[in-house]
Amino acid sequence: MLNFAPRRLLLAKRATGIMLAFSMLSIATAQHSMGQNVPLISGGAGFETNTSGGNTTYIPVISPLLAAPLGNHVLVESRAIVLDSFFPRGGGQPGYSSDLFLGLTYLEANITASKHLTFVAGDFLTPFGTYNERLSPIWISNFEDAPLILSIGTMGSGSGVGGQLRGSVFSTQHVSFDYAAYFSAASTNEQFSAERASGGRGSFYFPTARLEVGASYGRLLQGTQQTFSGVHVWWEPENTSLRLRSEYAHGPHSSGYWIEADYRLSRFNNGESFVGRFEPVFRMQQTFRTGPDQSDGLPSAPTEQADFGLDYRLQHEVRLNSSYSREFSPTGNRNIWQTGIVYRFLFPAWRGK
């Protein structure tokens, strides 16, 4: 409790800093923005609950995103997250404690160099696998919890500080190939923490089959150098509303996979109807451990987990999430219940004439 006030003050300062950074970005780009290129504010706000082992944690969360074009070739983009966890004090004490977290998820400048190349500079999400870059926003992910293997290949913090090359090599009616390659320097700054690392990802997409297949590679270049690899397969069968996503990742001391299937019931009814707004989701995941490693973020023992979710899409960009998970582990089995409501917003940074 003694550190409570200084900590709040520090967080308030950080919040002010982040808001100032967002404001400066908007102002800096105002003179360059015209027509359809007005800076935007997007993101999600929600309220989540997590019940495990009889204890319920309540988590209000907001994750704003700012994207601001600078001229015709530069896009400055940033995402932040603010969440407050309210959890039981434990130890027989009544009431709840809270833990406020505020941080920049990424802050990057995207510079379009050619039709096949975009240069990304700044603090960026590590391009390894699919979840970290594409499914982690709270208004996108089907489950509140990330997969167990998320930390494999994403270098701990999930982001890098440095540069990245990415783009589409070719795109035809039958197949396309895109890539991302990065180098990150070590950084101990609290908001921009990163490991010295390099890596990348390449993906083929076959539009006719609606099939995506890709591979990722990462190399930690500091301390005990380590190599990570992974593959992913996504498939959306034709004429269904089914999505199948899967990912496998391998590290020096652990590995694992997840497979997720979601199905929008709009196929059986109008997408705007009561039934059509439901989306059942199922995910199975498994981790393996080949050696002890307390820093790789995976469970200390081989773990298996089945997640059953049911999402419901209300009007006005609001979604209700619910899920039940059963985790099997030599250290003990457990149930995890989660519920949440998420509102997604997207609007111009300022009003137009």
Partner: protein, 98 residues
């Protein structure tokens, strides 16, 4: 523990692939699909619609609507996130601003 895990994952897997075997009860004619309200996999009505369905919709549903003043910014964001080609970027911009 192992037996429970196999039972649960088998059940989940069977439930997950059931839709593959189901016949569609209703389909949406392409001409009635509003671009930003499209559900998954209606027939694409244009090149931009195809790009939208094959790239943006792979990760997330379309927003119900947004101001045309930010459509260029949205697409530049998607170009980076979804690694769109220049051709796809232009088709998508045309689709969002017919």
């Amino acid at each position: 523990m192992r037996r429970n895990w196999i039972l649960i994952t088998s059940f989940g897997f069977v439930v997950a692939i059931l839709p593959l075997m189901a016949q569609p009860f209703a389909s949406t004619p392409a001409s009635q699909v509003e671009p930003l309200k499209s559900t998954k996999h209606p027939a694409p009505s244009s090149e931009g619609d195809r790009v939208f369905q094959q790239n943006c919709s792979r990760c997330h549903d379309a927003p119900q609507s947004f101001s045309p003043r930010i459509s260029g910014t949205v697409i530049r964001h998607m170009r980076v996130r979804a690694s769109l080609s220049e051709h796809d970027e232009k088709a998508l911009l045309k689709f969002l601003n017919p």
